[in-house]
């Protein structure tokens, strides 16, 4: 399926990093996730990009606020479970109107094998909205680039917190038995 595209330069997985670069992103903070592997690999390999691995997702909110204070744009790559870790820290973006661009790979969303992912996955979009984050959702490969472009535009031109959710059906069903 298209969603399993490993990142060969043509699919949505490569669109993520391409769109971030086109918007002048210089910092990519992330907690690893298989769905973000192509963007993480590209960020780590790009000498113009500061790639920052985090121990927990809310570190990225502080980091990107600091980078913006210093005049530079960034993005946070995380999984839906990590959105839960960010909730209180989002006060920083809400009160100081720091631009924030989050790209969230969904779990507990479609064909989830591990039901322990379901509570946060089902609450992810509502939780973000409760904290004032604007959200969009991509379930088809061709929607990723335009929706990420839209989110980046509104984050960096509107001092807004914006999140693009990448649906689990887009990413592909995790194979648990080999």
């Amino acid at each position: 399926m298209t969603g399993m595209d490993p990142g060969d330069g043509t699919g949505w997985r490569d669109d993520v990093f391409r769109v971030l670069k086109a918007h002048g992103v210089r910092h990519v903070a992330y907690v690893p996730d298989a769905g973000h592997s192509a963007a993480i690999r590209a960020a780590e390999a790009d000498p113009e990009i500061q790639a920052v691995v985090l121990t927990t997702e809310e570190e990225g909110l502080g980091y990107l606020a600091g980078a913006w204070l210093g005049g530079e744009k960034g993005a946070l790559l995380l999984q839906s479970s990590g959105v839960g870790n960010c909730i209180n820290t989002l006060a920083l973006q809400a009160c100081a109107r720091f631009p924030l661009l989050m790209v969230v790979t969904m779990r507990g969303d479609w064909a989830e094998f591990n039901a322990w992912q379901n509570p946060m996955g089902q609450a992810t979009e509502a939780a973000l909205r409760l904290m004032g984050v604007l959200t969009w959702r991509a379930d088809a490969p061709e929607d990723v680039a335009p929706l990420l472009h839209g989110a980046a535009t509104m984050a960096f031109n509107g001092d807004a917190a914006c999140a693009l959710l990448l649906g689990q059906r887009l990413i592909g069903e995790k194979q648990w038995v080999k």
Partner: protein
């Protein structure tokens, strides 16, 4: 472990005033609570960013700033409780290892803002040893003003990623409140670096 090790003997306002004296091109990020009041008491400055929430984020805000402004020294001034809420950030900072970033933890061993309850640091946790274990190339436990002077010189020289635990008395001097308008302080800070509002 017990209260015998809580905090230290230094006056927090004197420590911060010394750290920020003749600050030149220094950029400062403060953790919420008393460290923000201490930095404000030393004099408001366009190069200060005061946090009022997002507890545990002072070190990572400093990291992002230091990476975006490698030519400027960046000093994070925070407390032991705030640092404890973001301990994982010490690992993230050490991996990035920016030479222009320093963390100064004013360790009074207590949560001063909420009624002086003992913190983990006050119960014996040595935060400088945590930073060392995470990979900081330079850490110090500072108990006198000569140590503060040495830290100040190191910060200004951008001599390498640094972590200092500074032992201060468990007391709350009169509050000196920094501005609470986060948008104003953000735009003021960026303007001082030459960046305009959107």
């Amino acid at each position: 472990m017990g209260e015998v090790n809580a905090g230290g003997a230094l006056d927090r306002r004197a420590v911060v005033a010394r750290l920020l004296a003749d600050r030149a091109d220094l950029l400062v990020v403060t953790g919420l609570g008393s460290p923000s009041y201490d930095v404000m008491a030393a004099g408001d400055h366009d190069g200060n960013y005061y946090l009022w929430a997002a507890m545990g984020s002072a070190a990572t805000v400093g990291l992002g700033l230091a990476k975006a402004q490698p030519g400027r020294p960046v000093l994070v001034v925070t407390g032991d409780g705030e640092m404890l809420m973001g301990l994982g950030a010490l690992a993230t900072l050490a991996v990035q290892n920016p030479p222009n970033l320093s963390i100064a933890v004013l360790d009074n061993g207590h949560y001063g803002e909420t009624g002086m309850q003992l913190s983990h640091a006050g119960r014996g946790l040595a935060l400088d040893r945590v930073a060392a274990a995470c990979g900081f190339g330079w850490t110090a436990a500072i108990d006198d003003m000569a140590g503060v002077d040495a830290l100040r010189a190191r910060v200004a020289a951008r001599a390498g990623l640094s972590f200092a635990r500074i032992g201060v008395r468990a007391e709350n001097p009169p509050r000196v409140l920094p501005p609470r308008d986060g948008v104003h302080v953000k735009n003021r800070f960026r303007a001082a670096l030459g960046f305009q509002p959107i």
